[in-house]
């Protein structure tokens, strides 16, 4: 019922740019489907309100269909979900409903905005994808998931655009304000700065910069397991 209503609302906009949303998504999936696995180096840049953390480097691992992990030494704040999950969602067109919501320029590239709603049970509730008309890749993704709420992902492509692998992924995440009782933090004599930014919720960004992609090499499943589990 929810999907039917969604389709009825957005169906009139679909034929605007010639291709159906499913065709657009299929093209993107075909590009990404060439990647059975990859490993790469990744630099991570943090800009999180109320968290001071240095940028760090690590290695990123992906294995089809949906295993993704970043391995690094030390403490890091990472997005909760696999950023390539959307390709798992659009793998089978019978598993989702999609509609075109118009077009918009992201950077220098014209994008078609496609909204995707999974048919069955899925962690992703809805995904809004800005699909590049030249690259056929999602330049921007707004993903609403049960686990993590709304996450905005902005992708920048370079050498690996033919495989839909971005050079940069920028995640914008809603953050709850960090607050610990002074007694627990033993933080006496510190008066919190009262600024406009100290609202209950604010946004934080994490950027992945991938380099040295190595595609379709064997990766052990143990790489994706948590230590001690």
């Amino acid at each position: 019922m929810k999907n039917a209503l969604f389709i009825l609302l957005f169906l009139p906009f679909s034929p605007i740019l010639g291709q159906t949303p499913n065709q657009i998504l299929y093209k993107a999936h075909q590009q990404f489907a060439r990647v059975k696995s990859f490993k790469s180096e990744v630099n991570i840049y943090f800009d999180l309100p109320s968290v001071s953390i240095e940028n760090m480097s690590g290695k990123a691992f992906y294995k089809a269909p949906s295993k993704f992990r970043i391995r690094l030494k030390g403490i890091a704040f990472l997005p909760r979900d696999n950023p390539f999950n959307v390709y798992t969602l659009i793998r089978d067109s019978s598993q989702y409903a999609s509609v075109l919501n118009g077009s918009e320029k992201v950077g220098n590239e014209l994008c078609r905005i496609v909204s995707v709603i999974p048919n069955g049970e899925s962690d992703i509730v809805m995904a809004k994808l800005w699909m590049g008309t030249t690259s056929n890749c999602p330049l921007k993704m707004q993903i609403t998931s049960r686990e993590s709420g709304i996450i905005l992902i902005e992708n920048t492509y370079g050498r690996q655009v033919q495989n839909a692998l971005p050079d940069k992924m920028r995640f914008t995440v809603d953050m709850n304000k960090f607050k610990v009782p002074k007694a627990l933090a033993a933080d006496i004599n510190n008066s919190p700065k009262k600024t406009a930014a100290s609202a209950a919720k604010s946004k934080g960004t994490i950027e992945f910069a991938f380099t040295n992609y190595s595609l379709n090499t064997a990766i052990e499943d143990s790489v994706f397991k948590e230590e001690g589990k």
Partner: protein
């Protein structure tokens, strides 16, 4: 002068109360370490739960650096009492026991006596800080292992990389020593004024307690007073775990603490030189 210092060190070493500080630190550190060994990770998870809702937090394990930091910020509030127990007794103990007269018959000036006592008390404080550092940080590293340090503040969180912790802890201990030197100098002044050894200890602790309470409350009137209280600057050791390092603030606070030491010690020298010990 060296003989005088040696004598004063010997006096401190022979008093049972000098060992209370070492025993208290040992007991408190071991109790905190055991408690954190049992529930430390749950405690940390509870504190960062609001961030856990937004992120997958990798590598945030309970480790020796974090245990060391927690113990340091818990104990540093009690350390002045342990220091005052010894330094508050330095001059007034001699007055109360009547040994001050025989001490002043020696061919040394009164100022030299004060300096010798002060240096001996400083050495004692240094040993106490080293003892705290070894137990709270080094032993915690051995038991809990190394790792990135999570510095918890009431409104923010700072992640200090493991490789960056040695110089930060070292500097923090050095500044903590300077903070405790202010307490030594204050209790010395009170010790020179008082006729018994209990009063300087109690007054020193009362002053620190009062100033700390004023510092804890976020009330506008108190906020005006806070910069003038030495206790506000005594916790500057925590700033070594900030990023970017607030060098100006650390230098200012260190300067203010040195000024307090000079003031308290200067007043002690003036007062003790004029003190009538014949009564």
């Amino acid at each position: 002068m060296l003989d005088l210092i040696r004598t004063e060190i010997f006096k401190i070493a022979t008093k049972p109360r000098s060992y209370i500080g070492f025993a208290a630190i040992f007991a408190i550190v071991v109790i905190i370490q055991l408690a954190l060994y049992a529930d430390g990770q749950a405690y940390l998870d509870f504190l960062i739960q609001s961030l856990n809702q937004s992120f997958e937090i990798e590598g945030m394990d309970f480790n020796g650096n974090l245990v060391g930091f927690i113990i340091l910020q818990t104990l540093i509030i009690q350390m002045p009492l342990l220091v005052a127990l010894v330094s508050g007794d330095a001059i007034s103990g001699e007055i109360q026991g009547g040994t001050i007269r025989s001490l002043l018959t020696k061919p040394v000036s009164r100022s030299q006596i004060v300096w010798a006592k002060f240096i001996a008390a400083e050495l004692y404080t240094l040993l106490l800080i080293l003892w705290l550092g070894i137990l709270a940080w080094v032993v915690s590293l051995l038991f809990f292992g190394p790792g990135d340090l999570v510095v918890l503040k009431s409104d923010s969180l700072v992640i200090v990389r493991n490789a960056d912790t040695v110089w930060r802890f070292g500097s923090a201990f050095a500044v903590a020593f300077l903070s405790l030197s202010v307490v030594v100098a204050l209790s010395f002044l009170l010790s020179a004024i008082a006729e018994n050894s209990i009063a300087p200890i109690i007054i020193t602790m009362s002053v620190i307690l009062l100033f700390t309470i004023i510092g804890t409350f976020d009330i506008p009137v108190f906020n005006q007073i806070k910069p003038f209280l030495f206790t506000t600057h005594m916790i500057v050791w925590r700033n070594f775990f900030d990023r970017p390092l607030p060098v100006d603030q650390i230098a200012q606070s260190a300067g203010i603490m040195v000024l307090h030491i000079v003031m308290f010690l200067g007043a002690t020298l003036i007062y003790f030189n004029k003190k009538d010990i014949t009564q």
